[in-house]
Symmetry: C2
Subunit: 199 residues, 2 copies
C-alpha cells in the first residue's frame, strides 16, 4: 500500500471525515495543499481553528452567525408575516440562493427520529412556539425534507403550532424542474399527480 | 444570496481552493465541520498547519517524506534495476496501491510545457540523470501521463537518458488518452505496466 508521510496521512484522515469526501478525494486535496504555497495550508488551518470560536447560532432563528442575531433576522426589509421552518442551516442557504423567499427562517437543527433518539426536546421547537405567539406571523411554511422523518416532523409541528389565524403549509411536492420524468420514482410521481394544479 | 458568517465563509473559500472541490462541496464540508465537535476542526487545523513544516521531498526520488530519504527509497527489499519515472507524488501512490511495481520511483514534479513555461530545468531531471549513471539500473519506465505534454516529456527523457545497456520503456496504452493518472484503477495500471514497449 501507499507510503504516506504521517503528517500527510493525518491531513488526509481529517479531510476524509468531512461529508462527501472519500479517501481518494482527501488525498487529492491534501496533495494539492502540499504542492501549493505554504500560506494556503496556514490559511486553511486558521479558518478551521477559528470556526467554532467565532461562529455560533442566532438567538432568534438558530442559523449560524458571528453575532447574537443573524443578518437575516436583523434585516428590516424582510417580511415578518411568513416563517419558513427548515432542518438545518444549509437549507437556509439553498432557499437564499434560489432568491424565492423573502420571509424569516427557523432552523430546527434536525428532524424527529425515534430510531436515532431525536425527540422534540432535542430540536429548536420551544423557541419556535415562542416566536409564533407573535400575532404578526400569519403563515408557517414547513420545509423539512420530503422523507419519512421530515414528513413526521411536519405533521408533529402542524399539530403543536396550530393557533387561530395561523396558516400552516408544507412545501410543494412533485417533479423537480429539469428532471426527466422517466427517471423519477413512483412516490414522487404520485405526489406530483396529487399536487396538480389548473393551468 | 446566502449570508454566511465571515469565519464560515473563510473556511468555505479555503476548502474551495483545493483540487476537485467546488463551492457547494466546500459548503457541505464546512457545515459538516461546524456541526461536528470542535475537536474535529482543531485536528484539521493542526494537520494543515503541520503539513509544510513536517513534509518535505525525498533527497533521492523527490517523493514526499518526513525524513531525508523516503520509505520506498530506503526499502532494501525493492528492486534496484528498474526506475519508474512519474510526474508527481500522487502517481507513486497510484502505482503503490495497484501493487504492480516493486522497483524504485523518480518524481519529476511536473511535465515539460512550453505553454506554461516549464522547461527541463524546472523538473527533477538533473538528479534523474545522475541516478541512472548507476550501472545497476537496467530499465527506465517512463510513466508520465498519456497526454500530449506527458508524451513529449517521455520523448525528451528517452533522448537525454539514453546510454549503453539501459532499456527505456513507456507504460502501455492501457490507460485512456487524456486521463489523469492518479484517478486510474489498479488493474488498468497493471495492464499499462505489462504492456510497456521500447521507445
Amino acid at each position: 500500500m501507499a507510503n504516506l508521510p504521517r503528517a500527510l496521512e493525518n491531513l488526509v484522515a481529517e479531510l476524509g471525515k468531512l461529508p462527501g469526501v472519500g479517501r481518494r478525494s482527501a488525498e487529492r486535496m491534501a496533495f494539492g495543499l502540499l504542492a501549493a504555497p505554504h500560506e494556503r495550508a496556514e490559511a486553511l488551518a486558521r479558518a478551521a481553528s477559528e470556526l467554532h470560536q467565532r461562529v455560533g447560532t442566532c438567538d432568534v432563528c438558530g442559523y449560524y452567525t458571528e453575532d447574537g442575531v443573524c443578518p437575516i433576522c436583523s434585516d428590516a426589509n424582510r417580511e415578518d408575516q411568513v416563517l419558513c421552518v427548515v432542518e438545518d442551516s444549509l437549507d437556509v442557504i439553498a432557499f437564499e440562493r434560489s432568491a424565492s423567499f423573502r420571509g424569516r427562517y427557523h432552523v430546527l437543527g434536525g428532524v424527529l427520529s425515534p430510531l436515532k433518539g431525536v425527540t422534540p426536546d432535542d430540536l429548536n421547537i420551544a423557541s419556535l412556539r415562542q416566536r409564533i405567539s407573535d400575532p404578526q406571523i400569519t403563515e408557517i411554511i414547513l420545509a423539512t425534507s420530503p422523507s419519512v422523518e421530515g414528513d413526521a416532523t411536519a405533521i408533529y409541528l402542524a399539530d403543536v403550532l396550530a393557533r387561530e389565524g395561523l396558516a400552516i403549509t408544507r412545501i410543494g411536492r412533485g417533479v423537480p424542474v429539469g428532471g426527466s420524468l422517466e427517471l423519477i420514482d413512483g412516490g414522487t410521481l404520485r405526489m406530483a399527480l396529487e399536487g396538480r394544479r389548473s393551468v
